[in-house]
């Protein structure tokens, strides 16, 4: 049985709750054991880097150090967490001044870190550790006929991941195809959703959200599949507002793990699908298990 350390990050305990629920369900179905990293702290995300770079590395560093003790790969499903942890790990190696400074911190806090922690994304694990054959074998109700726009967002393949192509990632496409879905050609798959700009500069954020949803629709997607809690939040929560401002764009936005979960036979409730603002029920109802 495969085991990983699990780093939920703040979002999977807040707006991205459904991501956690569906992720845990899917991994369980695949006989993968996830052990939550004990006493993890916030990765620092993108905002902290703007205030204090070294402390941002230190925040990530504490998690890396805690994980290293366990000698397991660290699973970070949230894009921001994945990027920040990876970046910290890299920069500690690349910049001696970062390493030196953190060393002081680690010593004071009674931690040790030698740089061996591997930070992994669920896509990476599903494709490379588990494999498409294994995933196909678990499918109970294939998502036949479901047209999906695979939306990766920015921070997964850019700039530190090595498991997929930077310009044109395909790992999620492969996974969803493996469970029977139809993937529409979606050249915007790594375009930015605007991140926190929706909150800070609404007009900017809304236009980015709108174009993403509009193009998904134009290419025939019934549903947009995401891998990032912030992307999902932006596209889901502000869809209404974007539609009002730039023209109707109604499209459910779900996590790829929710789609995998459906195919594995979990119920909408188990996968947190009911937490969506824009209901996915209409599109996905036919794949739901018949109530016992």
């Amino acid at each position: 049985m495969k085991r990983y350390l699990y780093y939920p990050g703040c979002s999977l305990r807040g707006t991205g709750k459904a991501y956690e629920e569906s992720l845990l369900a899917v991994f369980k179905a695949l006989d993968v054991e996830l052990e939550e990293l004990e006493d993890w702290n916030c990765c620092g995300a993108t905002a902290y880097m703007a205030i204090d770079e070294m402390n941002a590395f230190a925040l990530a560093g504490r998690n890396l150090a805690l994980a290293e003790k366990k000698k397991l790969d660290l699973l970070a499903p949230c894009s921001a967490c994945y990027l920040v942890l990876n970046k910290a790990q890299r920069y500690i190696k690349e910049y001696p001044k970062v390493a030196k400074l953190l060393d002081h911190g680690f010593k004071a806090a009674g931690l040790t870190y030698t740089g061996t922690t591997k930070v992994r994304h669920p896509l990476d694990i599903l494709i490379n550790d588990i494999g498409l054959d294994e995933i196909k074998a678990r499918v109970k109700r294939p998502l036949a006929g479901l047209k999906v726009a695979p939306y990766y967002g920015c921070q997964i393949v850019r700039p530190y991941a090595t498991f997929d192509l930077t310009y044109y990632p395909v790992s999620m496409d492969k996974l969803l195809r493996a469970v029977g879905a139809e993937i529409v050609d979606y050249p915007l798959k790594t375009r930015c959703c605007g991140g926190s700009q929706k909150g800070t500069l609404p007009e900017v954020g809304l236009s980015l959200i709108h174009i993403l949803l509009k193009e998904a629709g134009r290419r025939g997607a019934q549903v947009v599949s995401t891998i990032c809690p912030l992307c999902q939040f932006n596209l889901d929560a502000f869809q209404d507002e974007a539609g009002k401002k730039y023209g109707e764009v109604s499209r459910p936005v779900v996590y790829f793990t929710q789609l995998l979960g459906l195919a594995f036979g979990f119920s909408a409730k188990e996968l947190g699908l009911e937490r969506n603002i824009v209901s996915a029920k209409r599109v996905l109802v036919k794949f739901e298990p018949v109530a016992a």
């Binding site: 703040c10 979002s11 305990r13 807040g14 707006t15 991205g16 709750k17 459904a18 006493d39 993890w40 702290n41 620092g44 995300a45 993108t46 905002a47 902290y48 880097m49 703007a50 205030i51 204090d52 770079e53 070294m54 402390n55 230190a58 925040l59 560093g61 504490r62 920069y91 001044k97 970062v98 030196k100 400074l101 002081h104 911190g105 680690f106 010593k107 004071a108 806090a109 009674g110 920015c154 921070q155 850019r158 700039p159 310009y167 375009r191 930015c192 605007g194 991140g195 926190s196 700009q197 909150g199 800070t200 500069l201 900017v204 980015l208 929560a237 009911e274 937490r275 969506n276 603002i277």
Partner: protein
């Protein structure tokens, strides 16, 4: 129509600032820029920027500190890393943007009630205290500090999120807050020693 002086005099240049930019983490290659504009072209936010990233990089390496730090551009960067990945000269533009944001906050030249720097600092404070971020509280605090009116407009969405269980109101925290603070303090102290 008001007329603005556009010419730049050499005295307005701050060579030290230029040197500082080239010395920050990720800034080591700014002098390699060939001004092709690929960063601007690949940036999802460049349509809204006052200076395109390409221009900003050149202004920074030439030392036009006031214009660079006063620019809206740095606050629009969402860290999507498109520019960093695409740059044909392998300049870590995103890291440079981070450094400029930090410098602007340090020098106190950022737009005070503009929400992004506020978000960033509120975020930082929350982590220092609790070790984790509770999104609902974070958003609340940012809006309280910047735009109360808009917060009221958002109440509908807020309640939707709350009822779908996506808005936890109980603040999250880590167990060993002391360890985290010791870590951050130690880094902080040595940073000063090193500087």
């Amino acid at each position: 129509m008001a007329v603005k002086r556009m010419i730049k005099y050499e005295v307005e240049r701050d060579p030290q600032f230029a040197g500082w930019v080239a010395g920050v983490i990720g800034g080591e290659r700014v002098r390699n820029c060939i001004q092709c504009g690929l960063c601007s072209a690949s940036c999802p936010l460049s349509p809204y920027m006052d200076y395109t990233p390409r221009r900003l990089i050149h202004m920074a390496r030439e030392g036009f500190k006031r214009d660079v730090l006063g620019s809206f551009t740095i606050w629009l960067c969402t860290s999507c890393y498109s520019c960093t990945v695409e740059c044909p000269r392998r300049i870590r533009v995103t890291d440079v943007m981070y450094a400029l944001k930090r410098r602007a906050i340090e020098d106190g030249v950022y737009p005070k009630r503009f929400p992004i720097p506020v978000l960033a600092s509120e975020f930082g404070a929350m982590i220092r205290r609790k070790g984790r971020v509770t999104e609902s509280w974070l958003i609340l605090r940012v809006f309280l500090k910047t735009a109360i009116i808009r917060l009221l407009g958002m109440s509908k969405l807020g309640s939707k999120l709350f009822f779908s269980g996506r808005m936890g109101l109980v603040p999250e925290s880590i167990r060993d807050r002391k360890q985290l603070q010791t870590l951050l303090d130690a880094v902080e102290t040595h940073k000063e020693v090193a500087a």
